[in-house]
């Protein structure tokens, strides 16, 4: 086929099948996709920079709003990191509550995904079913945290709200009802031939490629690799909880659906275990306002995969640097690979199958390729910048920076 037969189709940033702004420039040869350029950054708000001018408690609320779907995961990763820097350990009850909320969040996120994926393939009945069931989960989240989306459970040194006995009963009731429904979805996904026919063989990603492109979460697990931070690097109390890492060997969209549905069931089991074994005691320990200097990497398993936070503190109330590597960010490369050679009609579901979250993804990275690199420590970098300006006749010390507008 010659170059002339190629058609370039831009999808986004506003598009019916995208709920968030992202731009995919798809090059087609006939119906086949031959190239994809993923244009992201529409949602880049500059949160990492904003962290540097806020104190640790304020940052929790800011990071919670990286993404409304997995808000708890981000704050857990951040709080864990800061707790490690400060050298405090949280009460066991708090760790249990963190796990319970994290798993309830996984329930809501996976149900949301199930609905969106069903919508993408035109199965709107399932979309409505899944979102109806998700309401029960949101009710519980609202009861636990007081808000349906950003629940603000975490704080440095533990959690802000307790889960009392009556709430525990409510959670158990919810999980019982939900389990029935999820079993139904499982049966539907495995036996409904139209569904299987629509999803099987689409968005193939072999285990090798998944590793090569650095996929995470259900995407890599559906390619047969049992990579789950809860198991490989247990945080909170995951080390004490018996649970299976769900994998599947289909390595396509169907596999990812199965993995997510089975993970729903697994999360329900984890919640039940935690509720039963939750110890009594405090829910928070006192944390210092100033965090000793140091740097830390903290990882959690978000519903979409491995979430990494890097924090460097300098002994004051504010960190030097916070870097967030959200799971969706890691999955884009794999997604491009999956899209190549597919039909255009399969693109929406293939994109949806990594459960992309643009708000999580849009972080800024500066890459200087083809240059020699060297590491500069902070004082040297500072000196370098002062010299750089001096050479150009600007005296940095004389510049007055206006006070930042504060709204809190």
């Amino acid at each position: 086929m010659s170059e002339y037969n190629r058609v370039v189709i831009p999808i986004g940033p506003q598009h019916p099948s995208l709920k968030e702004p992202g731009c995919f420039t798809v090059t087609l040869d006939g119906e086949k996709i031959v190239d994809v350029v993923v244009g992201i950054g529409y949602n880049h708000r500059g949160l990492e920079k904003a962290c540097e001018s806020r104190n640790y408690i304020q940052i929790i609320y800011l990071l919670e709003r990286i993404c409304g779907i997995c808000s708890h995961t981000h704050t857990t990763a951040f709080c864990q990191g800061v707790e490690e820097l400060a050298g405090i350990s949280i009460p066991r009850r708090a760790a249990y509550i963190r796990v319970i909320v994290a798993e309830i969040e996984r329930l809501h996120s996976h149900l949301l995904w199930l609905g969106v994926a069903a919508h993408e393939i035109g199965f709107d009945t399932m979309f409505m079913y899944a979102w109806r069931d998700r309401e029960a989960v949101l009710d519980i989240l609202a009861a636990v945290g007081g808000n349906r989306v950003n629940y603000g459970i975490n704080t440095i040194g533990g959690v802000r709200r307790d889960i009392d006995d009556s709430l525990r009963q409510d959670i158990l009731k919810m999980t019982d009802a939900l389990q029935e429904q999820v079993k139904y979805y499982q049966e539907l996904a495995l036996t409904e031939t139209t569904l299987a026919a629509r999803l099987a063989g689409i968005g193939k990603l072999s285990g090798e490629d998944a590793l090569k492109y650095g996929a995470v979460g259900p995407v890599i697990r559906a390619s047969g690799i049992d990579f789950d931070i809860r198991a490989v690097d247990p945080y909170a109390v995951y080390a004490e909880i018996p649970f299976k890492v769900i994998t599947d060997t289909h390595a396509d969209v169907f596999g990812r659906t199965v993995v997510r549905i089975l993970e729903l069931l697994e999360s329900i089991e984890i919640i039940r275990f935690c509720i039963k074994n939750m110890p009594d005691g405090d829910i928070v320990t006192k944390a210092p306002r100033r965090i000793p200097a140091g740097e830390v990497i903290s990882r959690t398993e978000a519903p979409r995969g491995e979430d990494i936070h890097y924090i460097r503190s300098n002994g004051t109330e504010r960190p030097d640097r916070v870097r967030v590597r959200a799971p969706s960010e890691a999955n884009w490369h794999a997604m491009r690979h999956m899209l190549l050679g597919q039909y255009l009609a399969d693109a929406p579901i293939t994109i949806a199958a990594i459960d992309p979250c643009f708000s999580c993804t849009d972080r800024a990275i500066v890459i200087n390729s083809g240059r020699e690199t060297e590491l500069m420590d902070w004082p040297r970098l500072r000196q370098y910048s002062i010299d750089w300006y001096k050479k150009r006749g600007i005296d940095v010390a004389s510049i007055k920076i206006p006070e930042r507008r504060m709204y809190f």
Partner: protein
């Protein structure tokens, strides 16, 4: 013109808001018919201008079984050219700013904007970030503000109901409020099209 006349007559009779024989001209008829349609069944389009996703899922949530905005006649559309109401979330980022304007411009008159969520109203937690413009109203005019982080679907429904109520009041009252948005050029262009 005959065809168009008959069409407007039928629509106007249905709307029961005007008496055709009273001698309304075609422009005011068309306006009234559009206003009636907007009030009875506003079509919305949703745009994320740099939010955290929280309010977006709540908007979708408002369209699903428990809350079901569709029973108020509200339908979600995929393209701005079909929509009456722009439901917008998020502190506007520099990247989405132009898109937001474009989408707003593409919507036919009369159009309304609902800013959903604290960060759409004022910038919220993102205020002061280097890539953030502030609330939606820093780029396009906003009719209804819904605060809340995240807004609850009930709040969205209440806002939409209020908007519909306000529309109805405007229509009944007529007068200058109904023409609040002076730029009805799009409407007159359509009239010309029918005449031609």
């Amino acid at each position: 013109m005959v065809q168009a006349d008959t069409l407007w007559k039928v629509m106007a009779e249905q709307a029961m808001i005007i008496n055709y024989s009273r001698g309304d001209n075609a422009l005011s008829l068309l306006k009234k018919a559009i206003a009636w349609g907007t009030r009875k069944s506003p079509w919305i389009i949703h745009f994320n201008a740099g939010s955290c996703n929280g309010c977006d899922i709540e908007i979708v949530d408002a369209l699903t079984p428990r809350f079901d905005l569709e029973r108020l006649g509200i339908l979600q559309r995929g393209t701005p050219r079909h929509a009456d109401v722009l439901v917008c979330t998020g502190a506007v980022t520099l990247q989405t700013k132009d898109r937001l304007k474009q989408i707003y411009d593409q919507m036919p008159e009369p159009k309304f904007v609902i800013a959903t969520g604290t960060c759409a109203c004022s910038g919220g937690v993102f205020n002061g970030c280097y890539c953030v413009m502030g609330g939606i109203d820093s780029v396009i005019p906003v009719d209804v503000y819904i605060p809340g982080c995240a807004v609850r679907p009930e709040a969205i429904i209440s806002a939409v109901a209020k908007l519909l109520g306000a529309l109805e009041a405007q229509q009944k009252g007529g007068g200058k409020d109904a023409d609040r948005r002076s730029d009805h050029s799009q409407v007159s262009r359509e009239i010309q099209y029918f005449k031609g």
